[in-house]
């Protein structure tokens, strides 16, 4: 049996800053995204959406729409295909006139042009019976419930020792509540699909984070075998979780296409429609309690989270998960409680769980450090666990302290005056802050890779992976080249289709881990077969297919990435305006496959974290159940002018246990902790502790 060290891939192409292999197509705009695939005589779908938050459509008058020239069909629950019952209340649309949330699809118009479809959809008259809706999340609701587990399969609650007792006897305690708002993923490419039925089979050109995930969700709804649904998605304009599992737009497109068999139906969502049908990050309310002794050693940590789900389908964000791993304390407790509301279904948004869950607790650590009279870095170091606090497993690698130390050195932390509100630059109050980052190492089962060597010296690597901007095209080519011990120029990678071997999707920062491992396994098998042929490729070529090898270490080690983020924040003393001139992130995430695209992943995460800290908040109107600021003029994401100096680096971290590449996944790590570092710096600048995101100017006026 080979040891972990021996099975690790020797890096040659891995680690180099190879430029994106799909870069030329992207800078010229010629890489085809979902609805940009050329198709013959497409029809166009415009949806009909519920104008009430709860109730029933008692009558839908489609006559005027049907009479419009150029209209091919009008889809409602009256003529929609019957779907198999799969227990997914989000996807099983148009099976009745019931309305579970405002904006839910009630039908659509299929027409010769997008303009006609839109105009005709507007002519449809819907009569409703309204029921009283309930869309407000509050921590004091009496109907909060405990989900069976939280996303994807974590325990809802955990407890060790006697947290309440330890808090009662602690020398220093903190009891504070933090909140994060509803946020929308808003990838730049709106969700988009071309659906076409031919001979009872369905082809979807879809903007998705997982071609096989979409296939797996759609096929049973239409009672098809998996292979009767073909999903194609070579380029995806971002997803950030919202294109992970398919949303009702894919089902509506497939239903509409059923009414015009043989014709491809195009259905790109508008930005405004995205605010009601493709998911969002739940608002969270995080009650944190910490207890410590005089030396600043934590004796107790509790985190009780309240958040929302939808009545039509449960999604339970795992917000308390990072607290189970971050710091040592003998007495600890975490819990999640949900309010089920008449809202759209929340979903994954970049680092679900870890992103909101590293806000409250990391601000609390800053508050507690001050209460203990310790520097926030020293306080974290003092509470560094030797093993994973809850499972007791050793860490496969954990370099949080090294990240904090290296970051402190690079940022110039050493001479920081801890007193808040004492530095001024003109009318601006200046402060600095720090917070930790973490994200688990996930690997999803089930992926397969096929590699075929041909006598012309080429290696065709095929796997149904996707590239949502993460650099999959490039990184998997580098992994394949090293596993095959050839140059990247000899590798032809194919991804982005269910015609390729099965693969998990891009989610949980697991892509490279889950797709790279079977590629390495297939390459090793292929090389063994080539050896059998004396090292030459026979005329018919040589092929090998391997799946995801079992990793025995996953049950022996706790596997996580870590990082430290530093922020300099200026807050205007008169207006409360907040500006972030400087951010630094130092990470330890195993081996970085591509230094160029990997850096971009971490920069991107921190940029979205800055956006979360300063700007993002979906405002739900409780009277109507819709998001008021449902466009990019009012739902602010950071612009170029909001990002100042932004630096990223990583430690060389060697981890032979995670997978043969030694990679941990970096798509989400960067967004965790950013908002806390900025909030902590804003406190240092002003002396005002804001515990609710975003950091809008009015919160800094006394």
């Amino acid at each position: 049996m080979t040891t972990a060290e021996e099975s690790m891939l020797r890096a040659n192409a891995i680690g180099t800053p190879l430029t994106r292999l799909d870069g030329t197509e992207k800078v010229t705009g010629t890489a085809p995204y979902a609805v940009e695939h050329p198709v013959d005589s497409p029809a166009h779908l415009h949806p009909l959406q519920a104008a009430i938050a709860l109730g029933r459509a008692t009558g839908i008058d489609t006559s005027a729409a049907e009479a419009e020239p150029g209209v091919l069909a009008v889809l409602t629950h009256a003529n929609a295909p019957r779907l198999a019952s799969t227990g997914n209340g989000e996807l099983e649309i148009l099976q009745s006139g019931e309305v579970g949330y405002r904006g839910q699809f009630l039908g659509g118009v299929i027409a010769e042009t997008p303009e006609i479809a839109r105009r005709a959809a507007d002519l449809i008259r819907v009569h409703y019976e309204r029921y009283e809706h309930d869309v407000e999340l509050r921590a004091d609701r009496d109907d909060l419930y405990k989900p069976e587990q939280v996303n994807p399969a974590f325990d809802t609650d955990t407890a060790q020792g006697d947290a309440d007792g330890a808090l009662a006897s602690a020398a220093v305690t903190l009891d504070a509540t933090y909140s994060t708002p509803m946020e929308h993923n808003n990838p730049m490419e709106p969700h988009a699909t071309i659906a076409c039925w031919t001979d009872g089979e369905l082809t979807l050109h879809d903007s998705t984070q997982g071609v096989y995930w979409t296939q797996a969700a759609v096929a049973p709804l239409f009672e098809l075998d998996q292979q009767q649904v073909r999903v194609i998605s070579p380029h995806v304009g971002g997803g950030f979780g919202s294109k992970g599992i398919p949303h009702p737009n894919v089902v509506l497109a497939a239903m509409a296409a059923r009414l015009v068999p043989g014709r491809p139906v195009k259905f790109p969502l508008t930005r405004q429609q995205m605010f009601s049908v493709v998911g969002y990050r739940t608002p969270t309310i995080q009650h944190v309690r910490l207890g410590a002794d005089e030396q600043g050693r934590l004796s107790a940590i509790t985190l009780d989270v309240v958040e929302q789900t939808a009545k039509v389908k449960e999604f339970a964000e795992q917000t308390a998960i990072p607290t189970r791993t971050m710091y040592a304390a003998p007495h600890r407790r975490t819990s999640h409680r949900l309010a089920a509301l008449d809202t759209p279904v929340p979903t994954w948004m970049r680092a679900p769980g870890e992103c909101p869950g590293m806000f409250g607790p990391e601000v609390a650590m800053d508050e507690m450090a001050l209460a203990c009279g310790l520097d926030p870095i020293e306080f974290r170091v003092r509470n560094e666990p030797e093993t994973d606090p809850e499972s007791g497993l050793p860490f496969s690698s954990r370099n949080l302290v090294a990240c904090l130390r290296e970051g402190a050195r690079r940022f110039g932390w050493h001479d920081r005056d801890p007193r808040p509100g004492t530095r001024r630059h003109g009318e601006w109050l200046v402060g600095t802050g720090v917070a930790a980052s973490t994200y688990p190492v996930f690997a999803m089962p089930g992926s397969q890779a096929t590699i075929r060597a041909t006598p012309d010296g080429r290696y065709a690597v095929r796997i149904g992976a996707v590239d949502i901007g993460t650099g999959t095209w490039t990184a998997l080519t580098q992994i394949a080249a090293d596993a095959l011990e050839v140059s990247v120029g000899e590798v032809d990678l194919e991804i982005g289709s269910t015609t390729l071997p099965t693969a998990s999707g891009a989610g949980g920062s697991s892509g490279i881990n889950s797709w790279g491992s079977p590629i390495v396994a297939a390459a090793r098998t292929l090389r063994a077969r080539l050896d059998e042929h004396g090292g030459t490729v026979p005329a018919e070529g040589v092929e090998a297919t391997e799946g995801m090898p079992d990793n025995p270490h996953t049950s022996q080690y706790a596997m996580h990435s870590f990082g430290a983020q530093f922020a300099e924040v200026w807050v205007n003393a008169d207006t409360g305006e907040v500006s972030v001139p400087r951010l630094l992130g130092i990470f330890a995430a195993g081996r970085i496959i591509n230094a160029r695209t990997g850096r971009s992943q971490l920069l991107g995460g921190m940029t979205m974290g800055l956006s979360m800290a300063l700007h993002e908040e979906s405002v739900l109107d409780p009277r109507f159940g819709h998001v008021v600021n449902h466009d990019l003029a009012e739902y602010h994401i950071a612009t170029n002018a909001d990002v100042g100096s932004l630096e990223v680096d990583w430690l060389d971290e060697h981890d032979p246990y995670v997978n043969p590449m030694g990679s941990k996944g970096i798509g989400e790590l960067g967004i965790t902790g950013t908002a806390a570092a900025i909030t902590n710096a804003a406190y240092h600048a002003t002396g005002i502790r804001v515990r609710e995101l975003p950091l809008h100017p009015d919160k800094f006026l006394r």
């Binding site: 994106r20 800078v27 705009g29 042009t113 901007g469 940029t607 956006s611 990019l632 003029a633 990002v643």
Partner: protein
């Protein structure tokens, strides 16, 4: 109501029929199959649909096709000189000023238009007012100016830091 119009797109004369309600963006994407400008918001807020319209950067989602009959449009694809990438596009590639790539053609057109504006001395809202008003001295196109001038193009992947580097390098490379 349908109208026949002519457009010059990336150096090619194109003739098409549009509904009077059709935006220039939809005309390009749906009628001409020119999908380089992207659709992201219908609102002029994301900048993904930016092209050079008669030489100036403009968001095509806020332009009616019929109102621009006869105009000259350059997309990111048309900036390339045959196989040779435009220097700004090359800098985006080199400095990884992109991730998912969806906002990228708009960013690049915007950057090219922006460099022209800066060369003409047009001030931005961060340009200091000197005697007799504000004008940009070419040497003053620093990172703060680039960030402000590129703020009409959103990037959700968060490539801004690399976009600024790419544009700075491209500007320097062209002798600025």
């Amino acid at each position: 109501m349908d109208t026949r119009i002519e457009l010059r797109v990336d150096g090619e004369q194109r003739s098409l029929t549009v509904d009077t309600r059709t935006t220039l963006l939809d005309a390009l994407r749906e009628r001409l199959g020119v999908t380089t400008p992207k659709k992201g918001c219908d609102h002029g807020q994301c900048g993904s649909c930016t092209v050079l319209l008669d030489g100036r950067r403009a968001t095509t989602c806020l332009a009616l096709a019929v109102a621009h009959a006869g105009s000259e449009i350059t997309t990111a694809a048309g900036l390339a000189d045959g196989e040779e990438l435009h220097p700004v596009a090359r800098a985006f590639l080199e400095h990884d000023g992109l991730q998912c790539g969806y906002c990228t053609p708009g960013q690049i057109c915007s950057a090219v238009g922006m460099l022209d504006e800066a060369e003409a001395g047009w001030p931005s809202s961060v340009t200091e007012h000197g005697e007799g008003g504000a004008a940009l001295d070419e040497s003053e196109l620093d990172d703060e100016e680039i960030r402000e001038r590129m703020s009409g193009n959103l990037c959700r992947c968060g490539a801004y830091a690399n976009i600024v580097t790419a544009i700075r390098e491209a500007a320097n490379g062209s002798g600025r």
